[in-house]
Amino acid sequence: MKKPDKIPCRQLKAGFELPCQSYKIKAAMITDYLEALGEKSSLYQKDNSTPPMAVASFAMNAIADSIDLPPGVVHTHGEIEFLGRAKACDVIDCRGKVESVLKRGNLNFLTIDFSIQKQGGSQILRGKTSLIIPADE
């Protein structure tokens, strides 16, 4: 199936709902994430448990991936609330809604509210992320 076109930044306005992105949490992603952190906590050695910040990382990237962002975008602010746990092989739905778009000089500030839910299950994470988008890098 053809991947839907990315949403141009100029279309984003407060209240704009980004398309839901669904994906399966793969064990290999968790392994790479834990290795990147040097994380050896026993919490993640049992039941295929996933660090909640790993889910936040995967989800934020999935949401941002629906937007046609120029290279060089960085985070400036974040709010994240953990509400439940996910495991390897869970399928999660990532929803985002534009809270605000501000322009200052040649930078745009985009704030997105997001919510992550296990498919057929409960909400496991919610939060907000603010991105600085350069007009031209």
Partner: protein, 139 residues
Amino acid sequence: MINDIKTGTQLPGCEKKVDRRSIDLYAKASGDYNPIHTDEEFAGKSRFGGIIAHGMLVLSYLSQMLTNNFGEKWTENGRLDIRFKTPARPGDVLTIGGIIRDVKDTGEKMLVVCDVFCRNQHGEPVIIGEATMKFWKGG
């Protein structure tokens, strides 16, 4: 795990050295291949003048420190509200820590509020913010 949950308690922190391998592994895990994190040439010409670590990688270090201190209490109902102040770069040595600012008894649960930080080897703040978690009494 921390035992002494009271206002003013310093959370045992940790140090992390940022390197290209961690950044590349994080890019692979998250799918975030923004060239500011992965492409020397692009990043060199950007306003950062070189590769910077993903903000979410550094935030993950902070969450790791909180997991080490609070275990599942953190991973099951933690909340972070943070600002990214200075980018972390390969070669940086980050100090990550926090202090319990407030402990509120709301009846059925305790709310623990911590000031958290991540600083680089120059003492510059990379992340500053607040972490909150709930402890259900008897739980």
